[in-house]
Amino acid sequence: MSGVAATAGVAKPNPEGNGPKLKRVKQRLTSRGATAAAILIAVVWTIPTFGLFVNSFRPADDIRTSGWWNIFVNPQFSLENYGDVLFSGGASSANLGSYFINSIVVAIPSALFPIVLASMAAYAFAWIKFPGSNAVFVLVFALQIVPLQMALIPLLQIFSQVLGISGTFPAVWIAHTIFGLPLCIFLLHNFISEIPADVIEAARVDGANHTQMFFRIILPLSVPALASIGIFQFLWVWNDLLVALVFSGGTVDVAPLTQRLAELVGNFGRNTQLLPAGAFLALIVPLIVFFSLQRYFVRGLLAGSTKG
């Protein structure tokens, strides 16, 4: 019963998330106390970032000698830090734009590739019966824990000596794809395996083979899950420094924004006053992505998983 209801919601991905039924029975589980608690959590969670935001507008000397809240007593705003991050510093920072482009060129395929490959694999693990299917899936699941650092050397070896692509975008894409796959497969499998068997069965009776099933049933039903997992993967890639350091070769041709920002701080942590501004610039794109795709979260990732 519930399975069907949930699927109905998923089958017609409803951006607003409020199915007609939900709207009618708009029952609030929340009370005044709960609202107060929610606002308290929201405030506590936001204050640290807000402090950084304020500091990004304060002169270096003020950041060092007084707390950011003093800005309310002694308002002193300046855009100097942002100016320094964006425009100063001779030969290098004129390139901030280049690094920004690099980040985009790195992040989009690195979010897309694992999602596509993972949805295919997740479908196979969930709906194609084959010997050892469970064992292989458990293996994939367990691979999540292989520490990235331990995989760097062997992978770089292959990229530089076998494929000859180290220090190029494809190297970074492949690395991110590989490191993202286990979690993406795990999350998508959870979603795809919850699609009611009768839906799949009906298609099979109609004579659909696996490829047709994948494109006609699985993908359309999984849009919200694909979108939300895609967002997470995008965020992880966008904020990554380690993979970029190793596989991008660190040049202005390929290296992403995170690396440039880390460099801006300079030797021995000089220019620490630039960090708040830099961190905020790096934050803009993830926030845009989150806001623009947020609707998928509403009825998103695990809407189908209603059974324990």
Binding site: T30, I128, F186, L235, Q294, G300
Partner: protein, 343 residues
């Protein structure tokens, strides 16, 4: 297979990026970008198309291969092989000689490393629990409330911040200045306003571990909240309605209907956060550098392998991390088995 050839073809294009010529480089980058996307789609499409048109005999197998092989090949190369290699290295020393379990003996006899193991357990116990509980509570509190989207975004925001950024943010919270000086860390300022002594939050052991854990909780709560919020919205209204008619109050509806309904999601959330917690090292690295008894296994592994060139000891630590995840893997497998039975 064919997946791996695609980047090889592209690689040649990159070195031509004109240095200093922003626009030329821009075109070239987007060229690589476009070729990459098209090539990927073409390869995947072709594989699926061929599987679709495969001869009747063996079609099932070929289709299975088409779906699973691309991911599995990448995983075999990029993770399984390194995992095997790491396992082997864990039993070798600096010069690559096989030394049996010496690295593990070393680990459990060094007081510093034992502390590190203890800290990791503390992280694994606290981060998933607190993040999930707070994330769930928050998701329930704001469910269908006015401004839900904004409230969600506020708690989600830390997810969009890199660990390095988080380190900077929290420095302005924990920063310490002695009594009598102007505080620049918010938490100490609050203590001073309350008439208390400022504290060295990141230095006074063992409490400093707690303050580092808070940073991780701050980041992961958004993840838990977003997933659980979606799950809550998937709870069928009829069930809640039925419970309400049976006279259940809000709390009873929550524990008797909502929780069982979202159990699957809870397992996923706790699992994912637990694994992320075991792997995290950036927070410790940027905030305390592992000093003051705050190191965790992932950080120690990095230090041993890359700062000291002790790949054997680093690998042994990686292996211990892996073993710590096993119970979670086993639990998830059991849950999955049950699900399959239900189906």
């Amino acid at each position: 297979m064919s997946m791996m050839m695609m980047p090889g073809m592209l690689a040649g294009a990159v070195p031509f990026a004109a240095r200093g010529d922003f626009w030329g480089a821009l075109w070239e980058k987007f060229g690589v970008f476009a070729i990459g996307l098209v090539a990927f789609i073409a390869v995947v499409g072709l594989v699926l198309f061929l599987a679709d048109r495969a001869p009747k005999r063996g079609r099932d197998f070929l289709q299975l291969l088409a779906f699973v092989a691309p991911a599995m090949i990448l995983l075999a190369v990029g993770l399984i092989y390194p995992a095997v290699r790491t396992t082997y290295l864990a039993f070798t020393n600096r010069t690559g000689e096989f030394i049996g379990i010496d690295n593990f003996v070393w680990m459990f006899t060094q007081p510093d490393i034992v502390t590190t193991l203890g800290n990791t357990l503390l992280w694994v116990a606290l981060v998933p629990t607190i993040s999930t509980v707070v994330g769930l509570a928050y998701a329930v509190f704001i469910d269908k409330s006015r401004g839900e989207k904004v409230l969600k975004s506020l708690v989600f925001m830390p997810m969009a911040i890199s660990f390095v950024g988080a380190g900077i943010i929290w420095r302005f919270v924990y920063e310490y200045r002695a009594t009598g000086f102007e505080q620049i860390g918010l938490l100490n300022q609050v203590l001073v306003w309350l008439g208390l002594e400022p504290q060295q939050f990141l230095i006074n052991s063992p409490w400093n571990n707690l303050f580092l854990i808070i940073v991780m909780v701050w980041i992961q709560t958004g993840f838990a909240m977003v997933l659980l919020s979606a799950a809550i919205k998937g709870v069928p209204i009829e069930r809640l309605e039925a419970a309400r008619l049976d006279g259940a109050n809000a709390w009873q509806q929550f524990t008797n209907v909502t929780i069982p309904e979202i159990r699957g999601s809870l397992v996923v959330v706790v699992t994912t956060i637990t694994i992320a917690t075991l792997k995290v090292f950036d927070i410790v690295r940027t905030m305390t550098g592992g000093n003051f008894d705050t190191s965790v296994i992932a950080n120690e592994m990095y230090t041993q392998a890359f700062n000291r060139g002790e790949f054997g000891q680093g690998s042994a630590l990686a292996l211990v991390l892996f073993i710590m995840v096993l119970p979670i893997v086993i639990y998830n497998v059991r849950v999955m088995r049950k699900q399959k039975e239900i189906r």
